[in-house]
């Protein structure tokens, strides 16, 4: 599984990255976590409000920071 965090480097994006990291380690799945801060890549996902959470190329959450528990439910 590949999880991507889209964001231009604001505080919320870091928070989302941490939450995703926590969710992955708590689930014990082996998912690849990646930060995407390049604007043209973010645009390619059609996302307009950052941060956004992408799982296997699919945009799941935009414009807010879901908690680690929320993320667990999304990726399970």
């Amino acid at each position: 599984m590949k999880i991507q965090i889209l964001g231009t480097g604001c505080g919320k994006c870091d928070k989302l990255y941490q939450n995703a990291q926590q969710a992955i380690s708590e689930l014990g799945t082996d998912a690849e976590l990646e930060k995407v801060s390049d604007l043209s890549q973010i645009m390619a996902f059609g996302v307009m409000t950052t941060p956004a959470l992408v799982v296997d190329g699919q945009v799941k959450v935009t414009g807010k920071v879901p908690s680690a528990d929320d993320i667990k439910q999304i990726i399970q």
């Binding site: 231009t8 919320k12 645009m43 059609g46 307009m48 409000t49 414009g63």
Partner: protein
């Protein structure tokens, strides 16, 4: 006074009583003491504002839970221009929006072939008008002033956006933005999200948490500064140096406000206390608008999509618009049309 009004006042007087209790009973300070007066003012105002904010942010977030920028984009694309500016500014006022998203939003709108000016209308009005600003203005400066502020905020977006299109700003975009304009992936159809009561509650609760944790410090700082100005800056100083007679005070206030980074919650209580001291309302309005509408970090972000020339034009445009607003309102005030 009608019953409704009486009731309204009695509800808000809870905060006066709370401050009475904390200052005079709990801390044992004496009434009439200067410090006690300032502290009383501070506690009464912050508790009142906090309560109003919590209630209003929750209610508004609840109501707009299903509105998102994707739907705004779909609505705006392909609309007539003149209508587009007004609609974009109006959406800017009601859509929740964080300035850290302004660049992806700019590119996303551009991709959907929405003219740059219409996007700018959205981006100009968005930070000026929000529920926090409205609560604070209504509480501190009254409904008349609040209506003027909202009208001017929307008008600034409309005029600013139209001007950007008029000068053909498309020429002054960075390659990144120009690429977005050519890369016309038709805006994906935005799903109309079905929201249950529970979804709305959760959304409103999250919004409340996010917005409140961001603004409470500013309210404390703003009210604190306002209280300090109230107690320690003599009225004669403001009238002598910052009155409407000196025309240059308006552009200077705007110029000072643009790079200054604050949001509405910090600047409104300060403006209120300066207005009480005799600062002309136009000057106050110009300063408030320029402080919240633009900031140094905002310009740094816009640099990614706008060439320096367009950034400069945008800066001068804001400066001119807010200065004009200030001068017009000072004129109206000195003509005695506003009380």
């Amino acid at each position: 006074m009608s019953t409704a009004e009486t009731q309204h006042f009695s509800i808000l007087s809870v905060f006066t009583k709370l401050a009475d209790w904390i200052i005079y009973d709990l801390c044992g300070m004496t009434e009439g003491d200067r410090l006690a007066g300032s502290l009383h003012f501070f506690i009464e105002d912050t508790t009142k504002i906090f309560t109003l904010l919590i209630v209003m942010i929750y209610i508004i977030a609840w109501a707009r839970a299903a509105l998102n920028v994707e739907r705004v984009r779909e609505y705006l694309s392909g609309k007539h221009r003149v209508f587009g500016y007004v609609a974009a500014a109006a959406f800017g006022a009601i859509t929740p929006f964080c300035s850290c998203s302004s660049i992806p939003l700019f590119l996303g709108f551009t991709q959907a072939r929405i003219p740059i000016g219409i996007t700018m209308s959205f981006l100009i009005t968005s930070p000026i008008i929000n529920e926090v600003a409205i609560v604070l203005l209504g509480q501190q400066l009254g409904p008349e002033f609040t209506v003027c502020y909202v009208a001017v905020g929307i008008l600034a977006g409309v005029i600013g956006g139209a001007f950007i299109d008029l000068i053909g700003a498309g020429k002054y975009l960075t390659p990144l933005a120009a690429q977005a304009a050519n890369h016309t992936t038709a805006a994906q159809h935005a799903e109309r999200v079905k929201m249950t009561m529970r979804d709305r509650h959760e959304f409103a609760r999250d919004e409340l948490k996010t917005i409140f944790s961001r603004v409470w410090k500013w309210v404390v700082i703003g009210v604190g500064l306002g209280a300090a100005l109230h107690g320690f800056v003599p009225k004669s100083f403001v009238i002598k140096h910052l009155s409407a007679g000196q025309w240059w005070t308006v552009p200077s206030a705007t110029l000072l406000g643009i790079p200054l980074y604050s949001n509405a919650s910090g600047v409104i209580p300060v403006a209120k206390s300066l207005i009480d001291k005799g600062l002309p309302i136009g000057t106050a309005l110009a300063f408030m608008m320029s402080t919240v509408a633009a900031s140094f970090p905002e310009f740094m972000m816009l640099k990614q999509v706008m060439k320096p020339k367009l950034l400069l034009i945008f800066f001068l445009l804001l400066l001119t618009m807010f200065t004009a607003v200030g001068l017009i309102f000072n004129l109206i005030e000195s003509a005695g049309l506003l009380t």
